[in-house]
Amino acid sequence: MIIQISDIYWVFWRELKRYSRSRIGLVVRIVQPAAWLILIGSTFAGTQSLLTTTGYPGSYIEYITPGIIMLTSIFSSIFGGATTLWDRRFGYMNKLLTTPVSRISIAIGKMFGISIISAIQASMIIVIALLMGVRLGNPIGLLPAMLVIIAFSMGLAGVSLIAAVLAKSQESFWATMNFLGMPLFMLSSALFPLELMPSWLSIVVKLNPLTYTIELVRTLIIGNSIPNIHLFIDISVLASFVITMILVAAYMFKREVSKAF
């Protein structure tokens, strides 16, 4: 099976065209994280003194901003597999599958599309955060942070694609993804630092790749991270998560689309 960059590009191109033409999808995906940022940011502002005890020098809203950025990308990418399910349902997938484009290229193009869309959504929430007065200690860090967001979203897109090709219906797909999305977010260091969690919880949180991703983003853009997890570990965990998911998703995609739908 040959992987051709131009094939991947054209599959990706379609995903982005669809996204840019669906205004509603764009709004829906941004409303929830924006609400989180505003509501949680002000509700838990009172925990500021607690946060300071962990050695974190910034304000609470600055603390959660990286988490909310990742939440945006989670919301966007975890449901990204839906287009694959629709394509199969409406027969478009069969049309793709009878072109000379390899199955692997289709899967990668889909995942890449999902991840870039997630990154676009994430940059919108960054703009909202800035408008709300969140200071970015290290604005230059935004660029590498975007790469981290794209990478993590690609991994989640893999998860979503796997669920989509295994799902027999839209309902079961959405239910599975809802079931996965929230715990993924809550059981991470998005809202509170590890130091403030009971030890059993911090073990669970340490098993979550999102925790490492958020720490990376926090280090990169806020500039004043809590250095409890080393940068190297963060990157290794993120990279292994993403690569594993891409490989498994590509394999599952190829296997499942050759079966009758």
Binding site: F90, T98, T99
Partner: protein, 337 residues
């Protein structure tokens, strides 16, 4: 060269129904071959095996000389596929759909524009090419779908029920396109249909499939000649001599090619396969016996008769027009959701 060849091809789905049951047939290069059968006969399943979408359970299939199971990418490079469901992207414009299809089929840049213009011209969608497909009618979508199957000028084009749910006018236009691409590009066309008229108008050869089995294969006109029953219906003016009338009937029965004659006082029903040549001879006889014919109608042998002869039932029994219509509405609704 043989464009499509199957050998004892079989597909069993998980629920253990043999959707395609041990079928062997071949389609020559440049032919329009029609697979005719009622709903659930196994037409789509066969096409999906030939287009590499499904793996056969047993047996072999070759398209353009390549094994669909072992050399799928070679097969894909040589085919176009227009599925039973309308498969175009509603968020893209008509032209964008074709560009995408062209790019995914690796059409060189210098050919792509030309092919797109040509395809748009053929399906008469030039004016709407830059509109979002979401604003197209069902028939326009189907035409665009067919155009996208042509964009790579495939050696073999698979059309799964190309005119399902279209009005008479659009259906005739699509028949014209199919004939045109077959003539001009020499493209082999493999189509499925459950419309007798479609198979009759378009196909050089047909295969009738029912319950996954091929009932008969052959040249359309030969099949009709073999089993078809034509009839001539005559309405007579009632002021004739009884004696003459009886002689008239006997003489008609004696005519060459007449299979059977039934009559009342006013009507005469002559069964024959050679209606056209018989009519003048019947007129001659009516002159001889002073019988005035007030009207005459001819029903030539049709594929319906062929179908009936080989499957033991009329296609209409299973797919009444009302029901087909409903199913179609359902499909369009689905495709637009």
């Amino acid at each position: 060269m043989v464009a499509v060849l199957t050998e004892r091809l079989t597909k069993v789905y998980n629920n253990n129904t043999a959707a395609v049951d041990n079928i062997s047939f071949s389609v020559e290069d440049g032919e329009i071959f029609g697979f005719l059968g009622p709903n659930g006969a196994g037409k789509s399943t066969t096409i999906m095996i030939l287009t590499t979408l499904l793996k056969p359970t047993s047996g072999k299939a070759f398209v353009s000389g390549y094994d669909v199971d072992k050399q799928p990418s070679k097969v894909r490079a040589n085919i176009g596929y227009v599925s039973q469901d309308i498969a175009i992207d509603e968020y893209l414009t008509g032209k964008e759909n074709l560009i995408l299809q062209g790019k995914l089929n690796h059409i060189p840049k210098n050919l792509l524009n030309h092919n797109i213009e040509e395809a748009l011209q053929l399906v008469e969608l030039k004016e709407r090419a830059n509109d979002i497909v979401g604003t197209y009618s069902g028939g326009m979508r189907k035409r665009l779908d067919i155009a996208s199957g042509l964009i790579n000028k495939p050696k073999v084009l698979f059309l799964d029920e190309p005119t399902l749910g279209l009005d008479i006018h659009t259906r005739h236009r699509i028949w014209d396109y199919i004939n045109k691409i077959n003539n001009e590009y020499g493209m082999t066309i493999f189509l499925t249909t459950h419309y007798m008229e479609e198979a009759d108008k378009l196909c050089n050869r047909i295969g009738i499939i029912d319950h996954g089995k091929i009932k008969v294969l052959g040249n359309t006109s030969e099949l009709k000649q073999k089993v078809g029953s034509g009839v001539i219906i005559l309405k007579l003016m009632h002021y004739y001599e009884k004696e003459n009338f009886d002689k008239f009937i006997v003489k008609i029965k004696d005519l060459h090619d007449v299979d059977d004659v039934r009559h009342t006082d006013m009507y005469l029903i002559v069964s024959t396969k050679e209606g056209r040549t018989l009519i003048p001879r019947i007129f001659d006889l009516s002159d001889t016996y002073n019988i005035t014919i007030s009207s005459i109608s001819l029903k030539e042998p049709s594929l319906d008769d062929v179908f009936l002869a080989y499957t033991g039932k009329g296609l209409r029994d299973e797919t009444g027009t009302a029901w087909t219509g409903m199913q179609t509405v359902e499909r369009f609704r689905r495709a637009r959701a």
